[in-house]
Symmetry: C2
Subunit: 237 residues, 2 copies
């Protein structure tokens, strides 16, 4: 890790608690419409369409579009699947709900951890979120990014190699001077196969109280730390 | 200006004092080599090759490359033109000097002004500098950018329309919700013709004590302010 100059972060789940935040966004929305649909079920269902929506792009069935566009499409699908009549929504209300992904709360350690890591490293998302989504989320949660790397600048969705390699190239660094920080073993495995260093941060409540995946490291990642403050301490920040 | 959400900044000259900083970089370099070449003449000559080097790309004679690449090429040219034998330089020393553009001092008002403006607006370069150049410069000078727009994400050099329009699109905003902040009337004219709002900040010493251009606004720009702190005050930040 001594050569690393850029810490690239997975964001959804690693830096922010998307499930609690999206459940809250859905709750406000469903209350307004007098709906008793289960909020957490809906949040999980919406997130469940995340990988399939990107997979059509990764496989070449569809040209690259921003994650914000995919969020709009999958919200429409998930509301209809649960019997909610989306035709009664104004364009503005629908768009505001779909942009709930810009209003995700950081985990309690994220802001302090990032502020400390920023003193020694360039820090930024290597996320599948697009640039404007990452920027507005950073404004909302006070995430002090130096740069936004990841899907949009590289036109590739993780775990495609170009998402990692292109993020290193954006910083004009060889892959070995970049580390991916993530709560997901599969993301880290893809980054390692591209030559990046790897940092695992367990987030055992990302998927709620019954989470069964990513509770522990599955490879000998370069660093494992309990949270981003602990990571800052480990790296001497 | 009430609708503006993204303040995009010209950087060289508007936010940082490139001439004093590059003169200092050249001075340290030339001292090491016992050269008495005039530092300011050399700085101006290097910067003088900036527009011609981009013009070959704008005109389609050459595919887009990063400004850092152009800086390396023009440094080699300018040293040779002034009789300096570049063959005696190590690759590392040459590269370090050419990266002097990552170590430019902010004007005295820039950091405080940007910190205040950042509270209400998304702030970021709409510069011809590439992403890594902008990121390392921000680390050096503590410029608190939210995002790096401009030449690299849009693959266009100002004043090409795509550099402005693509920067607005990167933030998912219509051009009228973006303002360009610049010390150069021609940059603002190009931004205005793309529908951006315009803010003029005079920097009467950018080119040294004998500067004759851009001393005053040449159109009725949306805002004119003496410096970035005055701009923050004008915009209620």
């Amino acid at each position: 890790m001594l050569k690393v100059r850029f810490l690239g972060f997975d964001v959804f789940g690693t830096v922010v608690d998307w499930r609690t935040s999206i459940t809250r966004e859905l709750d406000a929305f469903l209350r307004r419409h007098g709906s008793n649909l289960d909020r957490e079920t809906l949040a999980d269902a919406w997130r469940g369409l995340y990988q399939p929506s990107m997979e059509r792009i990764r496989s070449g069935q569809r040209p690259w579009v921003r994650l914000s566009v995919l969020h709009e499409e999958t919200l429409d699908i998930v509301l209809k699947q649960h019997g909610f009549d989306t035709s009664r929504l104004s364009r503005e209300e629908f768009r505001n709900l779909s942009r709930g992904w810009e209003r995700l709360d950081p985990w309690p350690d994220s802001v302090e951890g990032l502020q400390r890591l920023k003193k020694r490293f360039v820090i930024g998302p290597i996320s599948n979120g697009n640039v404007s989504l990452m920027v507005w989320m950073a404004k909302f949660g006070r995430l002090p990014w130096d740069v936004i790397a990841g899907a949009e600048p590289t036109q590739a969705y993780k775990p495609q190699p170009q998402a990692y390699l292109g993020s290193a190239a954006l910083l004009d660094l060889p892959p070995g001077e970049v580390a991916l920080v993530a709560a997901h073993n599969d993301d880290l495995a893809a980054a390692r196969s591209c030559g990046l260093k790897t940092v695992f941060i367990p987030r055992p409540r990302e998927h709620g109280p019954n989470q069964r995946i990513d509770l522990a490291p599955e490879q000998d990642w370069d660093v494992v730390a309990d949270n981003l403050i602990a990571l800052a301490e480990r790296l001497g920040c």
